[in-house]
Amino acid sequence: MQKQIIYFDHAATTYVKPEVFDAMKPYFTQEYGNPSSIYSIGRSNKKALEEARASVAKSIGAAEPGEIYFTGSGSESDNWAIKGAAFALQKKGKHIITSSIEHPAVLATCEFLGKHGYEITYIDVDSEGLVNSDDVEKAIRPDTVLVTIMMANNEIGTIQPIKEIAQICKKHGVIFHTDAVQAAGNIPIDVKDLGVDLLSISGHKFYAPKGTGMLYIRKGVRIESLIHGGHQERNRRAGTENIPGIVGFAKGLELANENMEAHYNKLKNLRDRALKGIAERIPHIKVNGSMEKRLPGNLNVSFRFVEGESILLMLDMKGIKASSGSACTSGSLDPSHVLLAIGLPHEIAHGSLRITFGEINTEQEVDYLIDSLDEIITKLRNMSPLYEDFIKGVE
């Protein structure tokens, strides 16, 4: 007897949609040729590759397919954009600007560069989890070579003023990269309108396969390669093209684009229902991050006096999959750098829960989540010495 699984962790990863899987399938066992070949079995793959590229270009509003570069993950795209710009512009300077709430793929890359002679400025966010574009402008120096600020945050879902920041960067002649991994498939992305130079996305966040990613490189922007070698991706990213993956990536993005409005409304409705239910039933909570400038499917709540992993484990036993905002790199002693950056005390950060909705979720599931949380938080608080102190303190 299999337990019913309720998946509320779509920001971590999504399943592959059946339509996406069907699109990929022929390229595993039948049309497997190498697109670099001149013979016909390779040519049909080359065609699939270029159609995927054109489709992705259209999905994100690129001026031309030649601005789309397929990679092996969101992390690879982030690394490529940041190191690529840094290495290409070493002569201009070695200063990079980012925010304090970036994904580790950006932060660890900056840290690496920090150890190799680069200076990194981390822009703080306000208590809502938002970057102020004026702060970015103030941080720009003559030796600044790159600004990298994420479009939407993976923990609290806040959406940054990318267009404003892009304009500032343009004014100062600085390359601007945005990590749009969480944004893709959830809110519209139009690179021309945004005015960004570099933009990263990852397939497995919009019902496309894991191990696929893309870097948009605006025409005319020169960055060093991350993976050197063969002539693939117009000599800029070596490696035999992962055709099934690329086809799935493009298909996933295509479907997301066609379905954007309904997807947005559905997720936002589920999210708002969950929040309403939780707030009505459970006291001493705190919602993390702006509720206005936010991805539709992201909810991040702290439950005071309890710890996140305990919540997750108890939810799991009820078949509910979520993620703890209290999480931090394993072995580290700090909770999420994002929650600390918006000013949460450690103990409240530890008690946070990230619930991210997806297309399979239903209102019934949300109601079950609310009931379960009510029960779990009560149980955990009843064994919490912090809650005991609090109750005694307020009595």
Binding site: E307, G308, L313, M314, M383, P385
Partner: protein
């Protein structure tokens, strides 16, 4: 990270949760900043631990080690309880993931803290073993990565 069935059992059905109103010894270790606090209540009669209860704020391992630790010391003499090490707690739980070993140390320290409280209250000699929680729970790593 994967917990043994024993750990999950003691997490979902923790033994001895609660307070003892007229406890003979109370000890609290860890701190909220690090995400783990254990508070241990002991009822001691004739040098024997008649009852033990706990409250814990923390991860699954923190709850399970608290639960197991109270089980292990109940009915024991103070001397015997002093000898319940973090290793004994871990073994009784069929092991812990490496990043969670610290939680078992916290449990050992919580017992020691409660016993010390008992001694101080009763004017007995000090337990030289307990030096208090280091306040550094980094090793506990009670937190899962969120990098997605």
């Amino acid at each position: 990270m994967e917990y043994s069935e024993k750990v999950m059992d003691h997490f979902t059905n923790p033994r001895n949760v609660g307070e003892i109103e007229d406890a003979d010894g109370v000890g609290q270790v860890g701190n909220a900043k690090c995400g783990d606090i254990m508070k241990m209540y002991l009822k001691i009669e004739d040098g024997i631990i008649k009852d033990a209860k706990f409250k814990t704020f923390g991860c699954g391992a923190a709850v399970a080690t608290s639960s197991m630790a109270t089980e292990l010391i109940k009915g024991k003499t103070i001397k015997e309880a002093e000898q319940v090490t973090n290793k004994a707690v871990m073994e009784a739980l069929d092991g812990l993931p490496p990043v969670k070993v610290h939680c078992s140390i916290l449990a050992e320290e919580a017992i020691a803290a409660a016993l010390q409280d008992y001694r101080v209250k009763n004017g007995l000699e000090e337990d030289s073993r307990y030096t208090g929680c280091s306040g550094c729970c980094g090793g506990c790593g009670a937190h899962q990565a969120q990098e997605d």
